[in-house]
C-alpha cells in the first residue's frame, strides 16, 4: 500500500467577519497520486491549495505532510520549509531572471553532478530557451517553464492552480499529454485545482468536488 503524503483533518477556514469558506475538510493523498478538485469560482478550492502550501493559515484543523503536522490552530510551518511546488495561472516567473535561472531558483542541492535545471527544461522541451527571459517567450512556453521550475526541487507535493487556463485548446491538449507523462515518470504527487471536468478526468486518480466549502469525492478514475 502506498504511503500517504498529505493528510488534512477537520480543516475549516473563514475570513474575518465572513461566513465559513471551508468547512470540515478531510483529505488523504497518497504518494504518486494525482487528484483534482473541481468547483466554481470562489468556492474555496484555491484557498485550500494556499493553506496546503502554507501561504494562508486555516482557522481550525490540521495539515500533515509526510506524517508531520505542518499546521494546526497554533502554528504553521512557513511555505519555504514545506517542500511543496506551486504553479499558478499567471505562472509567476521571475521577470529579471533567465529561464535557466528561474528553474534553478529553488534547487537546494547545488553540489549535484547532474544539471537539474537543464534536465527539467529538456523534460518540458524548453531547453533551447534557457538563456531567454520570461517576456521573450510565449504563454505556452512560460507554462512549461513554470511547471519545470516547480518540479525541479523535487517537491513532496505539486499544487497546480488552474495551470492550463490561459492556454488555447490545441496548446492545452498538447501540454496535458506531455505533463501527465512527466508526472507519471517522476511519480509526482499532484493536486490540481480546476473548473474543467475534462481536464480533471484526464489527469486524475480521484476527483473531488467542492461545494459550499465542503469536499466530496466524485469518482475513482482508472489510471491511464
Amino acid at each position: 500500500m502506498k504511503p500517504s503524503v498529505l493528510e488534512i483533518k477537520n480543516l475549516s477556514h473563514s475570513y474575518e467577519n465572513e461566513t465559513s469558506i471551508l468547512e470540515n475538510i478531510n483529505l488523504l493523498v497518497k504518494s504518486g497520486e494525482i487528484i483534482s478538485i473541481l468547483g466554481s469560482s470562489g468556492c474555496g478550492k484555491t484557498t485550500l491549495l494556499r493553506i496546503i502550501a502554507g501561504l494562508e493559515k486555516q482557522s481550525r484543523g490540521t495539515v500533515e505532510i509526510n506524517h508531520s503536522i505542518v499546521s494546526d490552530a497554533n502554528f504553521s510551518t512557513p511555505p519555504e520549509n514545506r517542500n511543496i511546488g506551486l504553479v499558478v495561472q499567471d505562472r509567476a516567473l521571475f521577470p529579471h531572471l533567465t529561464i535557466y535561472e528561474n528553474v534553478n531558483f529553488g534547487i537546494r542541492n547545488l553540489s549535484s553532478e547532474i544539471d537539474i535545471p537543464l534536465e527539467y527544461l529538456k523534460l518540458f522541451k524548453v531547453e533551447n530557451l534557457s538563456k531567454k527571459y520570461p517576456h521573450e517567450i510565449s504563454g505556452g512556453e512560460q507554462q512549461r517553464v513554470a511547471l519545470a521550475r516547480s518540479m525541479a526541487p523535487n517537491p513532496d507535493i505539486l499544487l497546480l492552480d488552474e495551470p492550463f487556463n490561459a492556454l488555447d485548446k490545441q496548446l492545452k491538449t498538447e501540454l496535458h499529454n506531455e505533463t501527465k507523462k512527466i508526472f507519471r515518470k517522476k511519480n509526482s504527487t499532484v493536486i490540481i485545482v480546476s473548473h474543467d471536468i475534462e481536464e480533471a478526468k484526464f489527469f486524475s486518480d480521484k476527483i473531488y468536488k467542492m461545494k459550499n466549502g465542503q469536499l466530496a469525492e466524485m469518482s475513482i478514475m482508472t489510471k491511464n
Partner: protein
C-alpha cells in the same frame, strides 16, 4: 512557526525605528511641561501675536493664490488642446525645483529699488535714478507671491490627476443640463475633486509654515523666524522648543485635514460609466488666453529666477566657481548620497515588512514615519539637538561632545524629512511586483532575506534609484535643519546661498543657488516623465 507574530525580530526592529524617529518630536512636545522662562514672557508680550498673525495671513494668502493657479491650470491642460499644451502640461511643475528662499533672493534682486527690473525700466524709458516702478517685495505680500509661485505645483499635480479621472460623460451631462464651460469648471469639476484639492492645499500650508529662508530674507516675523531667534538670539532652546510646539499644533491640524481629504478622495475615482476625456480644441484668442494662463506661473516661478541667476553668473565670468564652491558642493552631495542610501534602505525594509507580514504594526510604523515630511526642518532640528545633548550628557557623562554638532544629527533630520518621499517611490515599486512572485519563491524554499535580495531588490532597482534621487534633491534644498544641525564651519549649497543672501551678496549666492535648482530638477524630470505617461488610456 506562525508568520504574523508581532513579537518577531522584524516587528521589534520596526518598533525600535519608530521610537527613534518620533523621539525628537516627543522631546519638542514635552517642552510645554517644562519651565517657561523670561524670554517666553518677552515673546508672549511682544512677538507671539505677530508670529500667529503673519503665519496665518501668509498661509491664507498663499492658499488663495495656489488654489486659483493650481486648479485653473490643471483644468485647462486636462480639458483643452491648444498651442504648447503638451509642453505646458509638464512644465507647470518646474517651479518645484526652485526652493522658496531662492525665489525670494531673486525677487529682491529683481525688484529692489536698484534691482535688475527697475534698472531696466529706468534705462529703457530714461527715468530718474530714484524712480521705482515695481513696489517693495520685502513684505508679507511679497512672501505670499513667492510661496504661491513655488508651491502651486502641489495643487496642480493632485488636481490634474483628479481631473484626468473625471468622466467625460459626467461633464457632458452637465452641458446638456445647461451649464456653460466656466460653470462646468466651478459647479462640477471643482466640487467633485474637492478632497484632492484640500489634500494639495494642506501640503502647501505645511510647506509655507515650514519655511525659514524666504521669511527670514523678507524680515517677516513668523513662527520659524521666532524659533530661530529664540535659539540663536537668546540662546534659549527651551523657549525655542515651546514655540515649536505651538507651530506643531498648526502642522498637526493640517496633517489631519490632509489625511482626511486623502481618505475621502476615493469618491473621485472612476465609476462604471467612466469615459475617457476628449480634449476640446481651442483656437484664436481663447487658445492664446489658455496659453498665457498656463505660461504665467511657469514664467514667475521658474523662468524669471533662472534667468536672473544666469545673468548674475554670466556677468561675473563664473569666477565664483572656486574651491569654496566645490567644497560646498562636495559636502552637499556627500550628505545627499548618505541620506539617500539610508532613507531608501529604511523604506525598503519597512515596505518589505509590510509585504511580508501584512500586519497593522508595519503599516502604522510606515504611516507614522511618513509624517516626518510634514514637520518643519526647524522643529526637527530643535528636537534632535536636545536629544543629542541629553545623549552626550548620559552616554559620555558630558565629558565629550560626540553627537551634538556632528553630521549624524543632520543625516538623522534628513532621513525623517525625506522618508515619505522615499517610501512613496518604493511603495509604488512594490505595487508593480505581483504577490504571486513572492508565493512562488516561498514554495521554492526561499527565506525572507533571499526573497528580498534575489527577487525584490533586483525588481525594485528603478524605484530605489528614483527614491535616492528624490532624497538627494530634498537634502540639497533643505535649509533650516542644515543651518542648525551642521557641524561648525561645515557648509552646504543651501547654507552657502543663505549666508551670501543674508549678506546681500546676491551675485555670489547665484552659483550655489543654480546648483540647487539643477539638482532639484532631477526628480522633476522623473515626475514630468510620469506626467507624460499618465494620460488615461495611454499604454505604459
Amino acid at each position: 512557526m506562525q508568520k504574523n507574530s508581532v513579537i518577531s525580530p522584524w516587528g521589534i526592529l520596526s518598533s525600535l525605528v519608530l521610537v527613534v524617529f518620533v523621539l525628537p518630536i516627543l522631546i519638542v512636545i514635552s517642552s510645554i511641561f517644562g519651565e517657561w522662562s523670561e524670554n517666553w514672557s518677552h515673546i508672549y508680550d511682544f512677538a507671539l501675536f505677530n508670529y500667529i498673525y503673519n503665519s496665518s495671513i501668509l498661509v491664507i494668502g498663499v492658499l488663495f493664490i495656489v488654489l486659483i493657479i493650481g486648479t485653473t491650470s490643471a483644468w485647462i491642460v486636462t480639458n483643452y488642446q491648444f498651442f504648447g499644451k503638451n509642453t505646458l502640461e509638464w512644465a507647470l511643475i518646474l517651479p518645484l525645483a526652485v526652493p522658496a528662499y531662492i525665489l525670494a533672493y531673486t525677487f529682491t534682486g529683481l525688484f529692489d529699488t536698484y534691482g535688475t527690473a527697475n534698472i531696466l525700466i529706468r534705462d529703457l524709458f530714461g527715468f530718474e535714478d530714484n524712480y521705482t516702478l515695481f513696489p517693495n517685495v520685502r513684505n508679507l505680500v511679497g512672501a505670499i507671491i513667492v510661496f504661491s509661485f513655488t508651491l502651486y505645483p502641489y495643487v496642480y499635480l493632485v488636481t490634474r490627476s483628479a481631473f484626468l479621472n473625471q468622466s467625460q460623460s459626467m461633464l457632458e451631462a452637465g452641458r446638456l443640463l445647461g451649464l456653460n464651460a466656466i460653470q462646468i469648471f466651478y459647479k462640477l469639476g471643482i466640487p467633485i475633486i474637492r478632497p484632492a484639492i484640500i489634500g494639495g492645499a494642506m501640503l502647501v500650508a505645511m510647506e509655507t509654515l515650514s519655511d525659514f529662508g524666504a521669511v527670514e530674507h523678507f524680515a517677516i516675523q513668523t513662527f520659524t523666524t521666532g524659533i530661530f531667534r529664540a535659539w540663536y538670539g537668546m540662546y534659549d532652546i527651551q523657549t525655542a522648543m515651546q514655540l515649536a510646539s505651538m507651530l506643531l499644533v498648526f502642522v498637526g491640524l493640517f496633517i489631519i485635514l490632509e489625511k482626511n481629504s486623502r481618505d475621502n478622495a476615493r469618491y473621485t475615482s472612476k465609476s462604471s460609466t467612466y469615459k475617457p476625456k476628449k480634449l476640446k480644441k481651442l483656437k484664436g484668442y481663447k487658445a492664446f488666453f489658455a496659453f498665457v494662463l498656463c505660461f504665467f506661473p511657469i514664467c514667475i516661478g521658474f523662468i524669471l529666477p533662472i534667468s536672473e541667476l544666469s545673468v548674475w553668473m554670466l556677468n561675473h565670468n563664473l569666477n565664483f566657481f572656486n574651491d569654496k564652491f566645490w567644497t560646498t558642493a562636495t559636502n552637499t552631495i556627500f550628505l545627499g548620497i548618505i541620506s539617500a542610501i539610508l532613507c531608501s534602505v529604511l523604506a525598503l525594509i519597512v515596505n518589505f515588512l509590510i509585504r511580508l507580514k501584512n500586519n497593522n504594526l508595519s503599516k502604522i510604523v510606515s504611516s507614522l514615519l511618513s509624517l516626518g515630511y510634514a514637520f518643519p526642518g526647524l522643529i526637527l532640528a530643535v528636537g534632535i539637538v536636545q536629544l543629542f545633548v541629553w545623549l552626550d550628557r548620559y552616554l559620555f557623562s558630558g565629558s565629550e561632545i560626540v553627537l551634538t554638532g556632528s553630521l549624524i544629527g543632520l543625516i538623522f533630520a534628513y532621513i525623517i524629512k525625506s522618508y515619505a518621499l522615499s517610501n512613496s517611490a518604493i511603495e509604488s515599486g512594490y505595487e508593480r511586483i505581483s504577490i504571486t512572485l513572492d508565493e512562488s519563491a516561498r514554495t521554492l524554499g526561499t527565506s525572507d532575506i533571499r526573497l528580498l535580495s534575489k527577487i525584490h531588490f533586483p525588481l525594485l532597482k528603478t524605484s530605489l534609484l528614483t527614491s535616492m534621487l528624490i532624497v538627494i534633491s530634498e537634502v540639497v534644498k533643505e535649509l533650516p535643519a542644515t543651518l542648525i544641525l551642521r557641524p561648525f564651519n561645515f557648509e552646504t549649497l543651501a547654507v552657502s546661498t543663505y549666508i551670501y543672501a543674508a549678506e546681500e551678496r546676491m551675485i555670489q549666492a547665484s552659483a550655489p543657488a543654480v546648483a540647487i535648482v539643477l539638482i532639484g530638477l532631477i526628480p522633476i524630470i522623473i515626475l514630468t516623465k510620469m506626467i507624460r505617461l499618465s494620460r488615461v488610456g495611454r499604454k505604459h
